[in-house]
Every structure is written in structure tokens, then in C-alpha cells.
């Protein structure tokens, strides 16, 4: 083999492997470190003394974790469903070749540009009964208007859903609109020749085609939902009381506020572990899909 050929074979390897390796190492090493720390007695600083399962049992027994974990399911479920639903609705509406599409698209997309802290702060003003929309309505004369979810123990988590949906539904809309646009026009024409109305066309023809996009949107929305932190802190501060706290808030609280690195790491590990609920079915689905096409 000539020198040139050997170089041609090696060079790609030199270029492919380093970034992939660094990326994999980063993910694996950081996760492993967190798992390791969760089994130690670390408080203010990481220390490497064994603590067994103590941190896990302590976190599982704490009210903070119970409320946060329940909230995670409520929040993720509502957030993903609503964001997806609104995104789909907006995408379908814009897809109707209306005038001013650019303007609408920009209006729906811009919230993505805003940081979570700002979103949480501004929505905190808007939804506060004494400072925001309710007060405005009262001042304008509509005194029976009530929107007190922000201060209601049971409903506070849904205010976070509102702010989260506001921020992310533009992203869902963009992805779904792109998907709608990429549907084969022949399919569309065939459906029209068959005489089906708009609704049926969508249901029978178009949605199944963009099925994979739904999955992709869901994955991205899920990672938004799991990592939600700044939004909660800025909007409700986890309150009233502990009612709207989420696992990332608990992780940060225990790790850094209370100086209990090990407990916080245990909470982080449990948070990531609950991802398995979603990732494993997704992995199975993809493998099944690949097999069924092969």
C-alpha cells in the first residue's frame, strides 16, 4: 500500500475519533462521577468516603423530593402535550398559505430567544393576582375576574406549564410546520382526488407521514422539561411553600444551598434514572422501526 493510501486511511480516523471520544468521555465521566459522589458523604466539597445507600434513602424520604418528583410527571406531561398540541395547531393554521405567514412565524418563534430567567420573571408579574393581570382586570372594572393559580398550592405547578408552553411551543410549531411542508405533494393530491375533506386529509395522510417528527419534537421537549430550573426559580421560587418545586430545583438546593453534595447527586441520579421511563421505550421503538423497514 502506498504512503498516500495509508495516509488516506489514517487521517479520517484521526479526525473522526477525537471529538467523538471527547464527547463520549464527557458524558460518561461526568455521569459516573455524579453516581460515585452520590454514594459518598460529601457535604460542602466532594469527599470520597463511602456512605452506602444513605443519601438515596434520605432523599426518597424527604418531602421536597416527593413533591418535586410528582410535579415532574405533572409538569412534563402537561408541558409536552400542550406544547405539541398548540404547536401542531399553529403549524396547521400557518400551513394554509395565509398572508402574513412570516410575521406570525416570527411572533411564535421569538419566545425561544428569551432566557428562562426573564420568562419566569415576566410571567411572575403577569400571573400575580396583586400585581398582574387580575389586578389590571379589577382596575378596569371587571372585579369578578379571578386568576389565582400562582398562589394556589395545587395549581402553582400549572403556571409553570403556562410559561413553559409560551416559551417552547414556537419550537414545536417550527418543527411540525417544516414537517408539514415536506410532505410529498403527490400524496396530498391523491387524497384530494379521493375527495376527502381537509380534516380527513390531515388525519389519514399527513399526520402519519410526519409521525417521526412528533417523536423528535417530544424528545427535545422532554429535555426542556427535565432541565427546567431557572423558570421555576424566577416564576414561583418553588412556592407557595414547596408546591411547585421540581427535581432540578431540589438538586441545586441540596447540592449548593444546603451544602450536601452527596444528597444532591443522589437526587440528580434519580432524576436521570427516571429518563429511562422514556428513553427505553423510544429506543425499542426505533429498533422496531428499523427492523420493520429492513
Amino acid at each position: 500500500m502506498s504512503w498516500r493510501d495509508r495516509w488516506d486511511r489514517i487521517l479520517p480516523q484521526l479526525v473522526i475519533w477525537p471529538p467523538l471520544l471527547i464527547s463520549c468521555t464527557y458524558v460518561l465521566a461526568f455521569s459516573a462521577w455524579t453516581v460515585f459522589v452520590s454514594f459518598t458523604r460529601s457535604t460542602l466539597l466532594p469527599e470520597y468516603s463511602w456512605a452506602g445507600w444513605r443519601n438515596y434513602t434520605a432523599m426518597l424520604a424527604s418531602r421536597n423530593w416527593h413533591i418535586a418528583y410528582t410535579n415532574l410527571f405533572i409538569y412534563s406531561g402537561c408541558f409536552v402535550v400542550l406544547t405539541m398540541g398548540i404547536g401542531l395547531l399553529l403549524a396547521v393554521l400557518i400551513d394554509q398559505r395565509i398572508r402574513g405567514e412570516n410575521i406570525y412565524r416570527t411572533i411564535f418563534l421569538y419566545p425561544l430567544a428569551v432566557s428562562f430567567v426573564v420568562t419566569g420573571t415576566v410571567w411572575g408579574w403577569l400571573l400575580n393576582p396583586s400585581l398582574g393581570v387580575q389586578k389590571l382586570m379589577h382596575d378596569l372594572g371587571w372585579t369578578s375576574f379571578k386568576f389565582e393559580w400562582l398562589i394556589d398550592r395545587d395549581m402553582a405547578i400549572y403556571t409553570i406549564v403556562i410559561a413553559g408552553v409560551w416559551q417552547a411551543s414556537g419550537f414545536a410549531m417550527a418543527l411540525l410546520l417544516a414537517g408539514l411542508r415536506s410532505v410529498d405533494s403527490d400524496l396530498y393530491k391523491a387524497a384530494q382526488i379521493d375527495g376527502s375533506g381537509a380534516l380527513r386529509t390531515y388525519r389519514r395522510v399527513i399526520f402519519p407521514t410526519i409521525g417521526p417528527i412528533f417523536i423528535a419534537v417530544m424528545v427535545m421537549l422532554l429535555q426542556f422539561a427535565i432541565k427546567t430550573y431557572d423558570l421555576v426559580v424566577a416564576l414561583t421560587a418553588g412556592g407557595p411553600g414547596l408546591a411547585s418545586t421540581l427535581p432540578t430545583v431540589v438538586v441545586y438546593d441540596f447540592m449548593f444551598q444546603r451544602g450536601e453534595l452527596a444528597r444532591g447527586s443522589a437526587a440528580a441520579v434519580m432524576l436521570l434514572g427516571s429518563l429511562a421511563f422514556v428513553l427505553v421505550p423510544y429506543g425499542i421503538y426505533r429498533r422496531w422501526k428499523r427492523r420493520s423497514y429492513a
Binding site: 466539597l45 466532594p46 411572575g124 389586578k135 398562589i151 398550592r153 421560587a237 407557595p240 414547596l242 444546603r258
Partner: protein, 423 residues
Amino acid sequence: MTKISRRGLLAGTAALAAPGVHAQAVKPKVTVISQWSSGPSGAAMVALGQEFEKRGGVWEHDPVPGFTTEMMNKLRAQIIAGDPPAASQLKGPEIAAWSKIAPVVDLDATVAAAGYEAVVPAELVRLSKPHGHWVALPIQAYRINSLFLSKKAADTVGVTKLPATWAEFNAIAEKMKAAGITPVANGGIRWDDGMKWEIALCGISPEAYRKAIMELDEKTLKGPEVLAAFRQCRKLAAWSDLGTSGQDYTPFVPRFIKGEMGMLLMGDWAAGVYKRSGFAVSDYIVGPAPSDDGKIVFDLNSDEFMFWQRPEPEFQAGQKLLAQIVMGKELGPLFCQITGSIPVRSDTDLSAAGFTAQQREASHAMGEAMKAGRIVLSLAHNMAQTNQITAAMIDVLTEFVHDDRISAEEGQKRLVDAVDNVR
């Protein structure tokens, strides 16, 4: 003839020799981490820095925007990275906890030379000497259990002076409620909720507060004073505006001044907030919060500088210089006039022009409480216990305040359980 130990001699000479030998050689330098990036606290740090540079030092203050947790994060990161600041802001039992994780400077000699220990409240001395040696120096103090009464609201219900006991407070609150005024103007975030409860307890019985909160004595935690504090706190929560949940008290300041809200139980920094919001001292009446046995109670909050060991001579010189400024009599006028806090040294002359009447009253209260042994340390502001224990207790208190389905007995039980879990 007194025996001078050899070690003491060496230590003494080391402490004294260092400035002499090095002062001509290096410029004292100090890197400081704090959370005071803006507002009056930020301005006070700037003034402190100017004084430091006036005395020939190089001042590098690196404030971390955010709250104390972000500052502690940065501090932690610097320590892990092997580059601790020369001085950092810390307070309460955290001083003891943090002093164990990295080497800190032993300030005993410097403090003794300045005769500082005698003029500092005993509680602060105890916090600054966690293992028997001075490792931190207090900068300023605040009184947590202050009561602010809106003048307009007071006029509406015909009240002219502050309530002295909780019974009087409750009576005034009822009157205000009947007149359509929100009696309590506090906010609804964690430390505010904790404060409402602790002010209630220290007014009911400072001894019970000391035993239950500062010593975590189980019997007192289960006792009648704590239960009474929960009951009073339930009243305070019911008298607050629902919209304050999750908010600081500051957005509601205009309503307080206008007379729509009546009384604020807050640390005395609120006076500074009123001033910077453009309101006058005549808009409100300020004084100590109710104390049921009529005697003075002082709920203390203070900030300190801790000094981390650095091998470089310029940092060591800088730490000495900073220590001298902080311990000196001029820190009061320099720092506290800007922040509105109380100078730590009990021999500070507060009749100087820059101090407000409220500062004088609070400082006098601190002095009297010091003499009578009725100073307690704030729970909600991380003075009484480490952050870990404090957070567990505040979890219970903040849930209690925002959930009126929790009875006072249930709240007390949860508090006892929480303390047991973290003890």
C-alpha cells in the same frame, strides 16, 4: 513574674514581625468575594475598597451576582481550583463549616492586639471563633425583629404607637382588617416565611427561642412556646395578602406607604429600601417587634469576612490591613452609614451625622440586649444553624405559612421531625 511560653513568644513575634519585615517590601493586596454587587451594599464595598487603597493596598473585589448560594458556589469553585480568595463574605455557623474545608488564617494575635473581642457582642464572638480561634471578623449587624407601621394605615385605625406585645399587635391587626387594610405587609418567599415565625417566637419567649432554635432542644421544640409561635404565625399568614406568595416584600412597598397595608415585620434594612423608593421617614413608624414580657429582645443577623490562608506575602499583608480596617472604629461610619446597618463595635459613636435615628435606636437596643443576655440569632438568615438544618426547618415553616390546612400542632410536629432527621 508571668511565664511567657516559648510558643506564645514565637507566635507573637511572628505576628508582629511580619508587618515590620514585609511592609516595605510588598503592597498589601486582597481579593474579596461577596454577593454585594450593586445597591447600597455594593456601594459600601466600594467605599471599603477606597479606604483600603488609601492605606496603600490593592483592592480586588469580585462580587457574584445573585444571592448567597451563588456566592458560595463561586467560593467553593475557587477553593476546589486551589485559588481561594484572600477574604470572603460568610456568616453564622457556616463559618465553622467552611473553616474546616480549607486552611483559614488564625486572627487571634491581630484581634488581641486591637482589643477587639471586648467590644463585640458575645454571640458574634462565638460564631467567629468556631474552634477557639478567631477566623472571621464581623462587619455589620442587623436587627431582624423590627416592626414598621405605616403612618397612613395607623391614622386610619387610630393607632399612634407601636404595639408592645403580640396581643396588642393582634388587636391592631383586627382593627386594620375591619377597615379594609391588609394588616401584614410581608412577602411570601422562604426566608420571609421563616422570619415571620421566628419573630413571633422570640417575642413570645427568647429563652424558648434559644433552646429550641439555637440548641435544638427537643423538649422545647415540643413545648408550648413553639406551639404558640405557630399559632401566631398562622395569624400573620392569614393577615397577609395572598398575592405576596413567591414574591419579595419590596413590590408591595408602595401599597404599604399608601396605607393599604399596615405592618411589616422585617429586618431594619427595610428602612433603606423605603428611602431609595423615594419615601420619607415620616411615612412610617419603626421600632422593635412585639415582646410579650415587655423586655428587650434582639434577633441578630450579621455578615462577616473570613480570611483564607494564602502563601503569598502580599496577600498576607493585605489580610492584616483589611482586618485592621474592619476592626477599627471607623468601619461604622464608613460602611454602615451607607448600608443602614448597625456597627458591630459597641463603642461606636452613633451621634455622628451620617447615622439615622433608626440606626441609633437599633444599636442602643443591641447594646441593652447584649447586657441583659437577650440576643438571639436569626434562623431564617442562617445565623442560628448551618444551611442544612436551617433549610430543613424553613421547608416546614414555608409550607405552614402557605397551607392553612396545616394546623399549628401539625406544624410543630413536622418541625420536630425535620430537626430529628437532620440532627
